[in-house]
Symmetry: C2
Subunit: 406 residues, 2 copies
């Protein structure tokens, strides 16, 4: 690993000193994730939007700007111009509305733009929503659309869809760290355990290591139950200047840090296949902004599009040393109320992965945990929460840190 | 026209007082617009990026965040995740990169997000680029992709592509204001006159009223030469905190105002077919921010996706009374160095319309005009410039005002 790949400088550092004012989440909600053949893209978005407004205790007229996220609405449903569509459907005209896209991190980057807009003082209250309607096309069409998250010219064009890209990383991990496929399977088992306790999850069903190991190979060594599913769903969060948050919510959740980093789209250009460099940079930056360390985090939603992605994430963020995350998961260290509670919502694996909604759904889960309302999957005394959203195979990583209000 | 459709309140007003600090454009450049069968999406983006960095006198390492714009890269070239792609291709990793989309206003809204990021103090120098590669698909596929800028469920699904949507507005205008098709044709003639003087324009060729009138009907009353073309191209601008701008550029161009508004996607939901309500709101807001009036503007790039769109724009912004814009154009009031110089670049009509690049290309033209470098198409003593970028049939409008540096 040459010096040039080390984290030497961080262009995001400018952000550390910028916070004009603090920002809180005053409401967040999402639709049931799953196959919604009876609901359209816009209906899902409006459903989540209404739930979030109610959750926040605000009305549409209070919202001053809208950040929408969708990865591939053009391919999935023939609709672009999604920001204005959502403003229109939610009755929010004429406020400025914009769509943000960063593949599977679309929700996370939209959340970050919304955060910046409020932190800067430009707006007091903004809405940010992610929505994806993926089941109106065939699985083959969906796989091709999702392939657009990687490098079209150097990966997708040659047939490299996402399971195969993550499979390369999984194989290298197994080789380098003497891990077992069963360790990856443990991620799926743990996330399905949590998802079985989340009434909005796509698959509310516990599974066993044996079931994962016996599910067919999609791209060796990844099997069907190592992969997150194709899902319809929407999620919306309402952000508010912290100084005004108490006016609307008894339990505002403060945003302590917002960090984002980029890496190459193509895996072939990376120096290392067992880490996501952008996650490492964003995590370092986020902890610096919040003046916290990994050990301070009580509950985290990480981007487990494939089981090995969760293993890399918990290492790259710093919860476990590189190479130790798979074994730690097998040993139960990431289970509910264990060393660090990872993906209590069920994660992308069990809760489902409507691409652009995922980053906002992660925020919904953390807000619910920090408010103490997660019931059967509640983490005891959760005070600090984190979200980690990845675009493609790691060309974008976005991390936010949250704190329970006083 | 009922009271509820009047401009009563303006949710953007919050922005007026927010400017933490001023922001300037220190460099802007675009590729030749046209059919670039020999250049890819990413090659066009990099070409514009390198030109813009050179124009700004900065290096890649000075850029702290990247805002990319593309309307329908998923449909056109199978590539999403465009923010990270551009950061990757331009060697800007690991800075945060994001794609903004608002149909044909993608460039304008990305520019506005970049402006907000610098104004807020989050970053000192950011790049914003728009790119579209439209000629790799058939005209039918392109028309369908572009239809995603309107309401997919209520317009495109029933076969309403964009020429037909603007044709409805054109027909109503002709009826209500006793205007002639020749008046719309005068827009095309004027813009081709300007485009013939722009070495980067797609069609550097003057045309006559007769040629426009004899070109075939696409959607009555709009004829082929009333329509902007399908184009490949990219444009990039570099924004910098004004207090630091002089370090890089002898001629920084200050951004005086940034305003955006939304309207319904579907034409059927509008109260009026002869105006774009979002343009009116954004214009009012922009002039308020800058403490200027329409008469102060020396040069403006408006969104002339169809000739009647330019007529509506110059009325909605306030250069002419409603219903008087068509005749004013016929009378030459919008020609180079006339009452108000409109679309000196050639506009979308003659310069070409690579969708997401257009909003940034408009900025490039205004910067060049305010720097006094537009040569054959230079507006004398241009001091105040404006850009007006529209998404779809007006569901998004973005307006920026610029001032020549001292």
């Amino acid at each position: 690993m040459g010096k040039k790949w080390e984290i030497e400088k961080n262009d995001c550092e400018r952000l550390v000193g910028f916070n004009v004012r603090k920002v809180s989440v005053i409401g967040a909600a999402y639709t049931k994730f799953g196959e919604h053949w009876e609901k359209s893209f816009r209906e899902l978005a409006v459903e989540a939007g209404v739930k979030a407004l109610e959750n926040a205790g605000v009305e549409g007229k209070d919202i001053q700007a809208l950040y929408g996220a969708s990865m591939a609405s053009g391919t999935f449903i023939g609709q672009e111009h999604v920001g204005a569509l959502l403003a229109d459907q939610m009755g929010l005209n004429p406020i400025p509305a914009i769509r943000c896209e960063a593949a599977c991190a679309s929700g996370g980057v939209a959340f970050r733009q919304a955060y910046l807009a409020v932190a800067s003082g430009a707006y007091d209250i903004v809405a940010v929503g992610g929505v994806e309607k993926m089941t109106d096309v065939s699985v083959e069409e969906a796989a091709t659309a999702l392939g657009g998250a990687g490098d079209q010219e150097w990966e997708l064009f040659y047939g490299a869809t996402f399971p195969s890209i993550y499979a390369l990383m999984a194989r290298k991990y197994l080789h380098d760290f003497n891990a077992k496929e069963e360790d990856f399977a443990a991620v799926a088992v743990k996330n399905h355990y949590n998802g079985a306790r989340n009434p909005l999850a796509q698959y509310q069903k516990e599974i066993t290591i044996e079931e994962v190991m016996n599910s067919g190979y999609i791209a060796t060594p990844l099997k069907l139950l190592d992969c997150s599913p194709i899902t319809d769903g929407a999620a919306v969060a309402i952000l508010c200047a912290s100084e005004l948050a108490k006016k609307y919510s008894d339990l505002p959740i403060e945003i302590l840090a917002s960090a984002q980093a980029s890496d190459t789209l193509a895996l072939a250009s990376r120096h290392c296949l067992t880490e996501l460099h952008a996650t490492k940079i964003a995590a370092r930056e986020a902890f610096k902004q919040a003046k916290l360390e990994p050990k301070n985090v009580d509950v985290v939603e990480v981007h487990d599009c494939f089981t090995n992605a969760e293993v890399m994430a918990i290492e790259d963020i710093g919860f476990f040393e590189k190479g130790k995350g798979a074994k730690a998961t097998s040993d139960g260290a990431t289970a509910l109320n264990a060393q660090i509670s990872v993906n209590t919502s069920g994660g992308l694996k069990s809760c489902g992965h409507p691409v652009a909604a995922t980053g906002i759904k992660q925020v919904c889960e953390i807000v619910e945990q920090l408010r103490g309302g997660a019931k059967q999957r509640q983490v005891s005394n959760a005070e600090i929460g984190m979200t980690h959203n990845v675009g493609g195979s790691g060309a974008t990583a976005v991390i936010h840190l949250f704190k329970r209000g006083d």
